[in-house]
């Protein structure tokens, strides 16, 4: 893998993203045109047509993956800017994140057992609302598959970013902070990206909720899952 090839893959991905973003914005943020969905769709088609395998592509764009870590660290900045509001809302914030996470895990378990989903997929599904790197770590502990976990997590993010705010609107909830918290808790980074499009404040709360959900789930899930299902 050469440096010019890596640069070309990154340039290609950025270009696809720029077009996908343009399309999304022109369509007035239509959920079905979410840039992660359309962007990865286009990249998949192009990889399939050119016969390039995923590993080669993933190696080429490893730097973008690294930047995702930096973006996660960068969430501290809007969090700091919102510190007064955050402090005032700490208690309801923590309580609602715990409630949502418990219901989320319980509903996945009930559905997976009812639908007789294979153990590997079941374990991978349990980590669906946790940010990708943590999800893979937890999934490893409870017998999931790393790439399946990554894909389930990303798609939970996309589904939540696409439809989550609408679900809340149907229930009469339009407050940006509440929407941000739900986006971060249920749809981690992709939800947080969506929340930043609502407002910086919504994004800051989403970022914190993502972190708290990841911490809460990594403390709760491995032990509980092992006691109940293994």
């Amino acid at each position: 893998m050469t440096a010019p090839e890596n640069a070309a893959w990154i340039a290609f991905t950025v270009l696809v993203y720029a077009v996908a973003l343009k399309l999304y914005r022109t369509s007035n943020n239509t959920p079905l045109l979410h840039p992660v969905l359309t962007g990865s769709g286009v990249i998949i088609v192009i990889l399939a047509l050119t016969g390039v395998n995923y590993t080669r592509y993933a190696d080429g764009v490893a730097l973008l993956h690294k930047l995702l870590e930096l973006a996660t660290v960068a969430i501290a900045i809007p969090l700091y800017r919102e510190r007064a509001k955050l402090k005032a809302l700490a208690r309801p914030l923590i309580l609602s994140i715990c409630a949502a996470t418990l219901v989320n895990l319980a509903s996945v378990a009930v559905l997976a057992l009812t639908l007789k989903i294979h153990t590997i997929s079941f374990a991978s599904l349990m980590t669906k609302s946790v940010t990708t790197p943590v999800a893979i770590g937890i999934s490893d502990l409870i017998g999931g598959n790393a790439s399946l976990t990554a894909v389930i997590v990303i798609n939970t993010g996309i589904v939540g970013a696409m439809f989550g705010p609408s679900v809340l609107r149907w229930m009469g909830i339009t407050d940006p902070i509440t929407t941000g918290i739900a986006l971060g808790t249920v749809s981690h980074g992709v939800g947080t990206a969506r929340a930043f499009q609502i407002s910086t404040q919504a994004g800051a709360f989403a970022g914190l909720s993502m972190a708290l959900c990841a911490i809460f789930t990594s403390l709760l899930l491995p032990t509980t899952f092992q006691i109940m299902f293994m």
């Binding site: 995923y54 989320n104 943590v134 439809f163 989550g164």
Partner: protein
């Protein structure tokens, strides 16, 4: 391949940077990237050292927040570059998202069930989160 190339790509998509497209802004942005990288590394180090079950980047985020709180201000280099990275996070999810093409065999015919589970539990969790937060903020207001 240095990360400066990527920053230039980013700036093409950004209205923030084009306004003051000076060498100084780019230099400050690069310094900001370096700073974020440093905190990510510090987070990684702590996670390894203490065998924490959470990723280094999350710990790095908490460390940077702690740093801001202790110093009473946010670091200048990240002022523009942090919002820039955050407004284009979706780009950074593309590599992982494309990974779906490797999974045909693992899922083996249960794709629909997995999709149903993801959809139903995600909608339910959104509803519970929204209701819970609204409820808990209201009860708090009543106490006041």
């Amino acid at each position: 391949m240095s990360h400066s190339n990527t920053l230039v790509y980013f700036t093409h998509n950004s209205k923030i940077m084009t306004k003051s497209n000076s060498v100084k802004t780019v230099a400050l942005g690069l310094l900001g990237i370096g700073l974020l990288w440093g905190f990510a590394g510090a987070g990684e180090f702590l996670v390894d050292l203490m065998a924490l079950p959470i990723p280094g980047a999350i710990v790095g985020m908490l460390l940077l927040l702690l740093f801001c709180t202790l110093s009473g201000a946010e670091p200048k280099p990240t002022r523009d570059v942090a919002p820039l990275l955050l407004s284009h996070m979706n780009l950074l999810f593309l590599p992982a998202s494309v990974g779906v093409i490797t999974l045909a065999s693992v899922v083996s015919g249960q794709f629909t069930y997995i999709l149903i589970t993801v959809l139903a539990s995600t909608f339910l969790a959104f509803a519970v989160c929204g209701l819970a937060f609204t409820f808990f903020t209201k009860t708090k207001d009543l106490k006041k």
